[in-house]
């Protein structure tokens, strides 16, 4: 057996390989069709009447169940005030990620370069914070942020900076530890102070890590539900995950049509963005996976 297997002609192997390649492509096409189906289902149902969504989510819209763009109109204009939620999510995500990137990269630089008891303690506390589940601090945190009035979309980024510092500090410090001191020393001899050295030399070198941290924090904050739900003044400010959960609440009839439409509005730009930024997202995921 073994010997016949070993001495197959090159042509034979090539043909076999070709056939199995096609089989693989076909099998994975089928699996991936199932994999994207849930997203297609959302799109299809966003054009259907709410009763038809729950009784038969698998059917295509027909004359009886179709409502054209009415669900979108409801989501945006009447029932959900979805656009303000989208705006809040966008504000919170952009401001928080910008704040986290700027502040934690600077803090990590200080912690790595200045050896003192307080930088060591701070660094280890940051690592420690990474394993603490949110439920551990959710109640006291919501009280603290209430007292300090950190409960609107423009100031909640400060809360994210605090709770999200762990991962970002860890990733930046890891990079900076491997950065040779000589570059900065050369800059210093040329007359650069720490601020100029950081912004014109260290930060540009750190760019790949900045992108990775940015991607990871964006994916977390954009999708986060419980922190903004407990911290924001929920009557006035809702985010996308909050409205989508809120409108499934057990009061009255659930507006499934509007929910479907708002999910389409949320998912479409994200998928498009993903197709363009895929390379960076994958890199971010991989460098984040090392955190452990």
């Amino acid at each position: 057996m073994e010997s016949t297997k070993k001495f197959k002609s090159a042509d034979e192997i090539k043909i076999k390989r070709h056939v199995s390649d096609y089989i693989f492509t076909i099998v994975f096409t089928i699996i991936c069709a199932f994999w994207v189906y849930p997203l297609i289902m959302v799109l299809i149902n966003s054009f259907k009447d709410k009763t038809h969504i729950t009784t038969n989510p698998f059917n295509l819209p027909n004359a009886e169940s179709s409502v054209q763009w009415q669900n979108y109109d409801q989501a945006v204009n009447t029932k959900m005030d979805f656009m303000s939620a989208l705006w809040n999510s966008l504000t919170i995500t952009v401001l928080s990620v910008a704040l986290i990137l700027l502040c934690t990269s600077m803090a990590a630089y200080f912690v790595v370069r200045v050896k003192a008891w307080y930088t060591t303690v701070f660094y280890y506390l940051c690592l420690f914070s990474m394993i603490v589940p949110f439920q551990m601090i959710m109640f006291p945190l919501s009280k603290v942020t209430d007292t300090l009035q950190l409960n609107t979309p423009t100031v909640i980024p400060f809360v994210y900076l605090g709770f999200g510092a762990g991962t970002a500090m860890f990733m930046f410090s890891n990079f900076l530890k491997s950065l040779p001191l000589e570059i900065e020393e050369a800059a210093m001899i040329d007359g650069c102070g720490p601020i100029k050295t950081f912004f014109s030399i260290v930060l540009p070198i750190m760019k790949p890590t900045v992108i990775s941290v940015g991607i990871l924090e964006t994916m977390w904050i954009w999708n986060d539900y419980l922190l903004p739900y407990l911290v924001l003044r929920i009557r006035y400010f809702k985010t996308v995950p909050i409205v989508i959960q809120y409108f499934q609440g057990s009061y009255g009839r659930v507006e499934w049509g509007a929910i479907m439409a708002s999910m389409v509005i949320t998912i479409t730009p994200i998928v498009i963005l993903y197709l363009f930024l895929q390379r960076y997202i994958i890199k971010g995921v991989l460098s984040g996976a090392v955190k452990g």
Partner: protein, 283 residues
């Protein structure tokens, strides 16, 4: 550089202080308060009264939901970890072969990760309820449906994420090593088990740890998919803590005590993982 930055407090204020301050407010203070409050009876922050370990005792006496949630969560974490990693690994092995469309397939597998837990839970609630409708049942008919539903959601979400990590690991296995083994007469199975798997062990332990922790900490998907219904039957630890806090009057202290136990549990898993990784690195 170090001397300049250490001497002048300006640099401390500029570089470290903003993050330090936010970290105090966003983590250190609430964490400390959380530990303290777990020994108190309270409804708001101001009426906290020290009750010693009463809250901790009450978790296991007046309330079966926590023990149920614990076993539900532990079982879920273990089963989902095995399922997700086996599937993700097989997909990764397949997608590192050279055939048409591998890039597109990877893109599609990862896609569910772009949506948050709330959207994932909502989408699958409609799908699964639509399927169960033909049997005149729903996701909240019993806890088992909830369990299976959560499993489906988490597989759909995480297979793509873990696959990315496995693909990176597999690409790090040198081709000439496999080629050499093949020339020595090893078959595909032997190459997989004796060369590939040992070499991607770091990825395997990383993914195992990630899925295990994700399983234990799962909240959003649980909240949207079943909300713990029926009667806390499909409630996991994080949701159990949440509902103890916000759905039961006078139970906040117990909720905080549960949260501390939850933190210790998750911390324990992290420490075990760290020890395993360190001992591997020492080899």
């Amino acid at each position: 550089m170090e001397k300049i930055m250490k001497k002048n407090p300006l640099y401390f204020c500029l570089f470290l202080l903003p993050t330090l301050l936010a970290f105090m407010i966003g983590f250190v203070v609430p964490f400390g308060m959380g530990i303290y409050l777990s020994f108190c009876k309270f409804n708001t922050m101001n009426d906290a009264k020290w009750v010693g370990i009463n809250n901790y005792l009450q978790i296991f006496q007046g309330d079966e939901t926590f023990t149920h949630a614990f076993w539900f969560t532990a079982l879920f974490a273990v089963i989902s970890t095995v399922a997700i990693n086996v599937i993700a690994f097989l997909v990764a092995v397949a997608l590192t072969r050279n055939f048409g469309g591998t890039n597109l397939f990877r893109t599609i597998f990862f896609m569910p990760n772009l949506l948050g837990g709330v959207l994932l839970g909502t989408i699958w609630k409609i799908l699964i309820n639509g399927l169960l409708l033909s049997m005149k049942q729903t996701l909240t008919t019993n806890g088992t449906y909830g369990f299976i539903g959560l499993l489906i959601v988490m597989i759909w979400q995480q297979v793509g994420y873990m696959m990315i990590i496995y693909v990176a690991g597999l690409q790090g296995v040198p081709d000439d090593l496999k080629e050499a083994a093949r020339i020595d007469g090893a078959n595909d199975k032997e190459i997989l088990f004796q060369i590939t798997i040992p070499l991607v062990m770091p990825s395997i332990s990383m993914c195992t740890f990630l899925t295990l922790t994700n399983g234990f900490k799962l909240f959003d998907q649980n909240l949207t998919l079943t909300g713990g219904e029926p009667m806390h039957q499909s409630e996991m630890l994080a949701l159990n803590i949440y509902s103890t806090f916000y759905d039961r009057v006078g139970w906040k202290g117990v909720g905080q005590a549960k949260a501390v136990l939850f933190f210790l549990l998750v911390g324990l898993i992290a420490i075990i993982q760290l020890k395993i990784t360190q001992s591997k690195e020492a080899d």
